[in-house]
């Protein structure tokens, strides 16, 4: 009984400490608790600007493909969770995404606004940039038009060119290094499925894993770069395993 009381007290202390820390994080429930959710307020917010830019990158090569949609969907989930009404928020973010994807005239304006809104945190800017670069790499390689959109964003954000190229090169290397010698057998292992499973089961396993391992833009705040790198690598691995199985099955 005494132990139980002790645990409860410890729990309460930890909760308090955790809560008071989380207050100082940039994107947290606490920080957004008084945010009034509307189309306009979200569109003007940093995360709204970021969603708009993600739309430009996703659509830069003319289409939104499966992994891009998967990454965007997870990202929208992550960022909507910090708002008081996640579902409503997400629907609005999705609408912003869809409106912005076909219009390339305001990239500079949006990027500039995002840079202004996040100027107090270089780390946050870097995270946004990292996500956008990952999105461009999602289909395996970066097309000329994707590269142009990214460069326009980086420039308008006055993002440090050296850091930009470092992130870019890192992704290029990562894509290059993803198990070039892996076999179909490895692919099944990565997804944790068997050769006898049907495609529906495999797809479910794939989605679950992507959701589990994708780089979470909210959770990665304050975490080391290694976290994002690992998450990204894992996501790409899961994806290439899935691609391999799909190809093998025709």
């Amino acid at each position: 009984m005494g132990n139980l009381l002790l645990f409860a007290m410890l729990g309460a202390i930890f909760y308090y400490v955790f809560k008071s820390y989380s207050k100082y994080e940039k994107y947290s429930k606490e920080a957004f608790k008084d945010f009034s959710i509307s189309y306009d307020s979200l569109k003007r917010s940093e995360l709204g600007l970021f969603v708009a830019l993600a739309a430009k990158v996703a659509k830069a090569d003319g289409r939104v493909d499966a992994l891009e949609a998967e990454l965007v969907s997870n990202m929208l989930d992550d960022i909507s969770k910090v708002f008081p009404e996640p579902q409503k928020t997400k629907d609005i973010f999705k609408q912003i995404f869809n409106e912005e994807k076909d219009n390339n005239n305001n990239i500079e304006h949006l990027a500039h606004a995002l840079s202004q809104a996040t100027k107090r945190s270089k780390a946050m800017q870097q995270q946004f940039m990292q996500f956008l670069i990952q999105l461009a790499f999602a289909d395996g390689e970066v097309s000329k038009s994707e590269e142009k959109v990214l460069a326009t964003i980086a420039e308008a954000m006055q993002f440090d060119p050296q850091t930009y190229h470092a992130i870019f090169d890192q992704f290029e290397k990562m894509m290059h290094n993803i198990n070039p010698k892996s076999t179909l057998e490895d692919a099944y292992k990565v997804l944790g499925v068997s050769q006898n499973d049907d495609m529906e089961t495999i797809k479910k396993a794939y989605r679950k894993l992507v959701r589990q391992y994708h780089p979470d833009i909210i959770k990665s705040q304050g975490k080391s770069e290694a976290y994002i790198k690992e998450a990204t690598q894992k996501t790409q691995e899961i994806n290439s395993a899935y691609e391999m199985i799909k190809k093998a099955r025709g």
Binding site: A58, K59, R63, A69, E70, K94, R207, R211
Partner: protein, 119 residues
């Protein structure tokens, strides 16, 4: 436990619906507007025609996705649209992506408020 399983299956259903929504709005609406006919038939028209021809979701998804994967004037159920706008171009999407989109179209009443609907 049963409730949890139910919730889980519901969540995954919702997630797949969402993929369809992102893929549909990300790719198709450039030409196929939801409610109005511009350079291609409106989505409500496509949905209506296909639903009439293929009432079951499984058939709807199969025929729509097979046709979009390899558009063919002979096998089209919308000859009038081809006369008006020409044959839909071959876009080279993965089979799975088109199936996802087809399922979303089947499930979505575009005349009602739905996520991504731009009023």
């Amino acid at each position: 436990m049963k409730k949890l399983l139910f919730l889980l299956s519901f969540a995954s259903l919702y997630a797949s619906d969402e993929m369809g929504s992102l893929l549909f709005h990300g790719n198709c609406t450039t030409c196929h507007f939801e409610l109005k006919e511009v350079s291609a038939p409106a989505m409500i028209t496509v949905r209506e025609r296909y639903k009439k021809a293929f009432g079951k979701k499984k058939d709807f998804v199969k025929y729509l996705s097979e046709w979009v994967a390899a558009p063919n004037a002979q096998t089209s159920i919308m000859q009038d649209a081809i006369t008006k706008h020409g044959l839909m171009p071959h876009l080279g999407y993965e089979k799975e992506v088109i199936e996802e989109i087809a399922a979303y179209i089947y499930d979505t009443d575009f005349t009602q408020q739905h996520p991504n609907h731009i009023p």
